[in-house]
C-alpha cells in the first residue's frame, strides 16, 4: 500500500490531503522555476525549435516581449519540476511509469527573467494490481500572479 505510506510522508513534508470536495486528492506545496535565457536556449535546441525569437532578446523585444520568450512547450520544463517530486512523494517508481497522455493550456507567455510558480495536485488514481493510472494537474503563475499555463499529466504505473 504505497499510497498510504506516500500520503503520510506527504503530510510530514508539508503536503496536505484535501477532501474529495476540492476535486483533488492531494495538493503539493508550490515549486518555483527561475527562467533564464540559457534555460530557454537549452530547451529550444533540445526540442529542435529553430525560430530566432526564442534565442535572441532583440528579436523577442521587437515582437513586444520583455526578454527572450519561451516556446509554449517550455511549460514541460517548469511544470515538470513540480510533478517529479509529487510522483516520488506519491510512492511511484519512476522506472515503471508510462506517460500516456498530456495536455497543456496556455495563457500569458513566459519570458527570461520570470519566476514561474507551479502547484501540482493529484486529481485521481484508479487501477488494479497490474497497473494504475494517475492523473496529476499543474497550474503555473508568473511573478505578477498571472496564469501562464495549466497541465494535465496522465501516467500509467505498471505493477499498480
Amino acid at each position: 500500500m504505497a499510497w498510504c505510506v506516500g500520503a503520510r510522508e506527504s503530510r510530514e513534508k508539508g503536503g496536505r490531503d484535501v477532501s474529495a470536495d476540492d476535486g483533488a486528492e492531494r495538493i503539493w506545496p508550490p515549486v518555483d522555476y527561475s527562467v533564464g535565457r540559457e534555460n530557454i536556449r537549452q530547451f529550444v535546441e533540445a526540442s529542435g525549435e529553430r525560430r530566432v525569437i526564442y534565442k535572441d532578446s532583440k528579436v523577442s523585444g521587437e515582437a513586444g516581449f520583455r526578454d527572450v520568450v519561451a516556446p509554449p512547450m517550455f511549460a514541460a520544463v517548469y511544470s515538470w519540476r513540480s510533478v517529479r517530486p509529487a510522483l516520488a512523494d506519491a510512492g511511484i517508481d519512476m522506472t515503471r511509469i508510462l506517460h500516456t497522455s498530456q495536455e497543456f493550456v496556455w495563457s500569458e507567455p513566459v519570458c527570461a527573467g520570470d519566476t514561474i510558480t507551479t502547484v501540482a495536485e493529484l486529481r485521481s488514481r484508479a487501477g488494479s494490481k497490474k497497473a494504475s493510472t494517475y492523473v496529476f494537474g499543474t497550474v503555473s503563475h508568473n511573478q505578477e500572479g498571472d496564469e501562464v499555463s495549466r497541465g494535465t499529466w496522465t501516467i500509467l504505473v505498471k505493477g499498480g
Binding site: E45, A46, G48, W80, H99, F104
Partner: protein
C-alpha cells in the same frame, strides 16, 4: 484557412544522443531515456525519446499555422501511443478540423516507421 486544410508536414530525425540534452533541459533523467541497458531491463528495445519531446515536435508543427507567434498555441493535448526511438524519422501531420472565433482546431499525429507514436492530438491555435 478552412476545415480540411493540412498543416505543413514536419519531419525530424532525432539522433542517438538527443534524449541527453532533452533530459538536461527538461530535468528528466529517467534512465529509460538515457541508458540503453536500463531501458532494456525495463523491457524496452533501447533508450526511448521523452514523451514531452514528441509533444514539443507536434506543438512545433501545429504552431506553423501562426508562424513565429509564440502566443498563438492556446491548447495542445496528445496521447502517447507508442515509444519514440532515436535514429528513426518522425513525421508529424495535421488537419484543420474547424475554425471558429479566431481559433483553429487541428487534429495532429506523429508517426515513426509507420507506427502512430502520438495520436489523438488536438491543438487550438489563434489564427
Amino acid at each position: 484557412m478552412k476545415p480540411g486544410d493540412a498543416v505543413p508536414e514536419l519531419r525530424v530525425m532525432p539522433d542517438r544522443h538527443l534524449p541527453h540534452p532533452f533530459a538536461g533541459a527538461g530535468e528528466d533523467f529517467n534512465p529509460i531515456h538515457i541508458d540503453p541497458e536500463a531501458a532494456r531491463q525495463a523491457g524496452l528495445p533501447g533508450h526511448v525519446l521523452h514523451g514531452l519531446y514528441l509533444m514539443s515536435v507536434v506543438a512545433r508543427a501545429a504552431g506553423e499555422l501562426a508562424p513565429g507567434d509564440p502566443r498563438a498555441l492556446k491548447r495542445l493535448s496528445v496521447e502517447f501511443r507508442d515509444m519514440g526511438v532515436p535514429e528513426q524519422e518522425i513525421i508529424v501531420t495535421g488537419t484543420v478540423r474547424e475554425v471558429r472565433d479566431g481559433r483553429a482546431v487541428v487534429d495532429a499525429a506523429a508517426e515513426q516507421s509507420g507506427k502512430v507514436i502520438v495520436g489523438g492530438g488536438e491543438a487550438e491555435i489563434e489564427v
